[in-house]
């Protein structure tokens, strides 16, 4: 249950359908960089519900062939240039979505149902790009009531970085409940944790409601600083500048991997 970083990276082979959280929601950058070091190929990413540096790094390094997302951006630091370049070159397939459709897809998977209905979205051209989303007439209403159905999303692996984990494999996520949904929806959850919690997280009534139980967790590795470089504004600024070109990107990533 408690393993290490190399073991986590080994559990994400080429071609994996990999779910990752938003940059503000606890991504595991340590494993991300390890996947790049190992030259993984053919990963299919699905973001919960958006991404930034993490997706841009994997795309720039040629690890990704497909991504389902509601948006990719470096926020204040600018556009995700490697994502934009890959989109322009047609080297990745992009399944464009909207945030709540991704949340609902994961929720359908955790409920074990094939789809969930969702309000809104009507009138958006996203419907034209998503033949897998269906508009039906609410079968329970007397009046016409069109509603969108989105299919369940069942990732093979959910990967994230959490503040705490205990020796039993329980992981504390606090208010980031979408990480629990992500783990429930995925076949396996792989987690890096900032710190080891000395007892059992489920025994503490204040910690338990924010805890993802070991039942859903395949492996936990203690990796202090596992969300670096997201935690360092100067590294982010450096990345945004370097990633404007593929060569600048490659140089910086080489530095991050070996420096």
């Amino acid at each position: 249950m408690i393993t290490d970083l190399p073991s986590l990276a080994s559990a994400i082979p080429d071609g994996t359908l990999l779910a990752i959280p938003a940059d503000y929601g606890g991504p595991s950058l340590a494993v991300t960089l390890e996947l790049i070091r190992r030259k993984r190929r053919g990963l299919r990413l699905v973001t919960a519900p958006t991404s930034g540096l993490q997706a841009d790094l994997l795309i720039g390094a040629g690890v990704v062939t497909e991504i389902e997302t509601a948006g990719i951006s470096l926020g204040e630091y600018g556009a995700a240039e490697r994502f934009r370049a890959a989109w322009s070159a047609g080297t990745i397939a992009v399944k464009d979505s909207t945030c709540p459709a991704l949340h609902a897809g994961f929720q359908a998977a955790e409920k074990g149902v094939p789809f969930l209905p969702l309000r809104g979205i009507l009138g958006s051209d996203l419907l034209k790009r998503r033949p897998d989303w269906k508009v039906i007439s609410n079968p329970l209403a007397d009046e016409p009531d069109p509603i969108v159905l989105v299919p369940a999303i069942r990732p093979e692996v959910a990967l994230f970085h959490a503040p705490l984990a205990d020796r039993h494999g329980n992981v504390w996520i606090g208010m980031r409940r979408e990480l629990a949904t992500l783990a429930h929806a995925s076949s396996r959850a792989l987690v890096t944790a900032e710190e080891l919690y000395p007892g059992n997280l489920l025994d503490d009534p204040l910690r338990a409601p924010g805890t993802l139980p070991h039942l859903y967790v395949d492996q936990v590795a203690l990796v202090p600083g596992g969300s670096w470089p997201l935690t360092d504004p100067s590294s982010l600024a450096l990345y945004a500048e370097a990633a404007r070109t593929q060569s600048g990107f490659a140089n910086l990533v080489r530095e991050w991997l070996h420096g």
Binding site: A22, A70, E76, S88, G120, I121, S124, L126, P233
Partner: protein
């Protein structure tokens, strides 16, 4: 460049009276506006994506969207790579250029009563007759840009006010869609000194965590 403090105040005007206001991705000026709206009306609840302090949704990322589908969310801000005269926004792509993506717009635009569109760049490149891709369709209540404020209505946008240095003619020249001019059209109101001090001080401090770069701009004395 318009003063971000003026823009934040105009966006706060646009959500006046809202009990619940949410701010999404990449939205520093709307985040400042939400904080200002809360200072004007302390019982207002605000949600700022990425802020650890202003997150009233402990049940995870989906909660805001469920809250909105029930009709509980009063106001939300949306941007646009392109915005058209019908109020459609395009956050996906135009002219072979990729934008970040549609985020929650497709869903929230039809569900939130007070949708406020905001884009600092006011040009014919952004404000177009017809967007290339409809990320979200709906009825925005207001459109605020770096040059002007428009009201939204059944028949498209109505010019309400223009910022310092702009005229009805200069706005018309920079706008790619047709619009009417409100009978009371005039200069955009500037915020009172007390509010400027809030924006430079406590509001900038609160934004330093989700938007460190913008917080510095807000504190600055330029414009």
């Amino acid at each position: 460049m318009a003063d971000p403090r003026l823009l934040a105040a105009l966006l706060a005007d646009a959500v006046a009276g809202s009990r619940t206001i949410a701010v999404g991705s990449n939205s520093p000026i709307p985040a400042a506006a939400a904080l200002l709206a809360q200072r004007r009306r302390p019982e207002t609840t605000i949600s700022i994506l990425g802020s650890s302090r202003h997150n009233p949704f402990p049940d995870g990322g989906r909660e805001l969207f469920d809250f909105a589908a029930q009709g509980r969310l009063d106001a939300f801000f949306l941007g646009g790579g392109q915005i058209d005269g019908a109020g459609n926004v395009n956050l996906l792509q135009a002219g072979g250029i990729r934008f970040p993506g549609s985020y929650g717009s497709a869903y929230l635009m039809p569900l939130v009563p007070n949708i406020v569109l905001f884009r600092e760049e006011h040009s014919r490149r952004v404000l177009v007759p017809r967007v290339e891709f409809i990320s979200a369709a709906g009825r925005p209540r207001r459109l605020v840009t770096g040059r002007a404020v428009f009201g939204g209505g059944e028949d498209g946008f109505v010019l309400l006010s223009a910022h310092p240095g702009e005229t009805e003619e200069s706005i018309r020249a920079a706008t790619g869609f047709a619009f009417a001019t409100a009978p009371g059209f005039g200069p955009s109101p500037t915020p009172p000194p007390e509010e400027l001090a809030w924006l430079r001080g406590p509001i900038a401090d609160e934004l330093a965590q989700p938007y460190p770069r913008f917080a510095q701009i807000l504190r600055g004395s330029h414009a």
